[in-house]
Symmetry: C2
Subunit: 324 residues, 2 copies
Amino acid sequence: MASQETNGGCSVLTVGSFALDNVKTPLGEVVDALGGAAVYSAVAASFFSPAMIVAVAGEDFPPEHLKFLEDRRIDIKGVQIVPGKSFRWWGSYEYDLNQAHTLRTELNVFSDFHPVVPESYRDAQYVFLANIDPDLQLEVLDQLHNPKLVVCDTMNFWIEGKRDSVIKVLERSDISFMNDAEARQLCGTSSLVKAAETIRSFGPSVAIIKKGEHGALMFTECTHFAAPAYPLAEVKDPTGAGDSFAGGFIGYLAHTDELSERNLRKATVYGSALASFNVEDFSLERMRRLTQREISDRYEEFKRISYFEETEMFDHDHVVIRRG
Amino acid sequence: MASQETNGGCSVLTVGSFALDNVKTPLGEVVDALGGAAVYSAVAASFFSPAMIVAVAGEDFPPEHLKFLEDRRIDIKGVQIVPGKSFRWWGSYEYDLNQAHTLRTELNVFSDFHPVVPESYRDAQYVFLANIDPDLQLEVLDQLHNPKLVVCDTMNFWIEGKRDSVIKVLERSDISFMNDAEARQLCGTSSLVKAAETIRSFGPSVAIIKKGEHGALMFTECTHFAAPAYPLAEVKDPTGAGDSFAGGFIGYLAHTDELSERNLRKATVYGSALASFNVEDFSLERMRRLTQREISDRYEEFKRISYFEETEMFDHDHVVIRRG
């Protein structure tokens, strides 16, 4: 269960982008709205556990966005504010909301960014490497002492341009997140089962494949889990869905500090719940007003929509991730 | 549970096409292979209950195909064999196996077909109107006495060309099957939740939306159910997946003769299981060698892949379909 108390478990360290997004969907439009993978994932994680961010923003980054993060008790001392303009993304979604169309990207301060992990973050146990240049993800890993769980994400741009670095990140990760197109592209197969096997052969014990409105698949050593998506009557803006998913997932794991098959499945559903809320409004608007009660209620709904018959227990307590 | 005994429950009457298919996929090719919605759905249903078929074939239809159906104890006295050539379909699938590309269709004997329901079929309680001209589906309904459950299917071609007739069929059906693209097209919305609501407003108590490799959604009055698809390492030929799904679904319902929420959910999973087997080989090859034991085992696997936590029971015994 999600708890109001988030001090019981471990913290989550998130590394990724801070962005100002310009997004147009069939249901509206926002200009210079708060976004970025680090923001979405840290905010989602913060519903379950304390969160820390490593990222970069320009001097133009509105102070109220930083205040919003601090008000959620997210530690932002790892966010470098540097001269210049913040990273900006222009994107649109058509009728098919599964597919983002990137109209323009301005790297700005991101182009010279090298992450510096503050000393107080280096013992972080739960680490989410959100989608950024895989070489930067590796720089972060090099600065950490001995994380218990490393979760990584990436995107088609890096799979095309920096395949070797993407694979190096996978070698050092325990759990990988990719969407179905990325998994197929990286592994050169249309079969998600085969793609997951290939991804796991690179390093991660667990491969999670996101399928947008169709939910997600989690592949472990011996099993797979099909998490449904929550069927929404209306999706306003899919931006950040994958990051909210990953953030909710790792936040729940850090809070419970248990890496069993059972708990990973529950984390996947909590992640799906966070993603389903996030797409109900633009930018982080829905997460700003989201309550713990709403998360618990939606988790219960996920149980009801996927139930069809009692299952004999299998070895759910099996720990699927072990590190030296 | 699927049972070797199929005489306990009711029979299924299936109406649809008999076809000779020419199909090419990335994994192979077949020429003049047994196909057609009535064939796939009746064979799938026959794993659970006695089946009867109303259809038409030309004099060129290979007798061994009819013998195959009879050997499965499927009643084919409603199949008219008429002078001329059988219905033929040429299709291909690319890398993305979710999308069939129709290269050519020859209606042949289908173009003058009017279904005649044999007297001995007219008391059929469980009826599946597979994908054919909706006006023919209505002709069949006119000849039936008082079916307990009418399940209908259709396709984009009829939604575009005979929308009014499609809606008339829906008015007289209890459960509708459509894939996601068809539901969106018929209802003019990208939201499957809204589409299901619109479909249900036309008549059916239950709307089932098929999503290919992503499973299916079942919408009833107060609930929805997200059935996972079985993640296969290799799909050889998706032809007939939807018909096997619907056939397995109605076959299980006829066998158990119970229209509760719980039982409809189980039927949806049995249908998904049949579909998942069917796509493992071309034409009906996989169903020819399929055993009851394999079906039971896969049903159990569906339970394991979708389980994440015990669910408090809700009102599963609620009968969701009532007819005068």
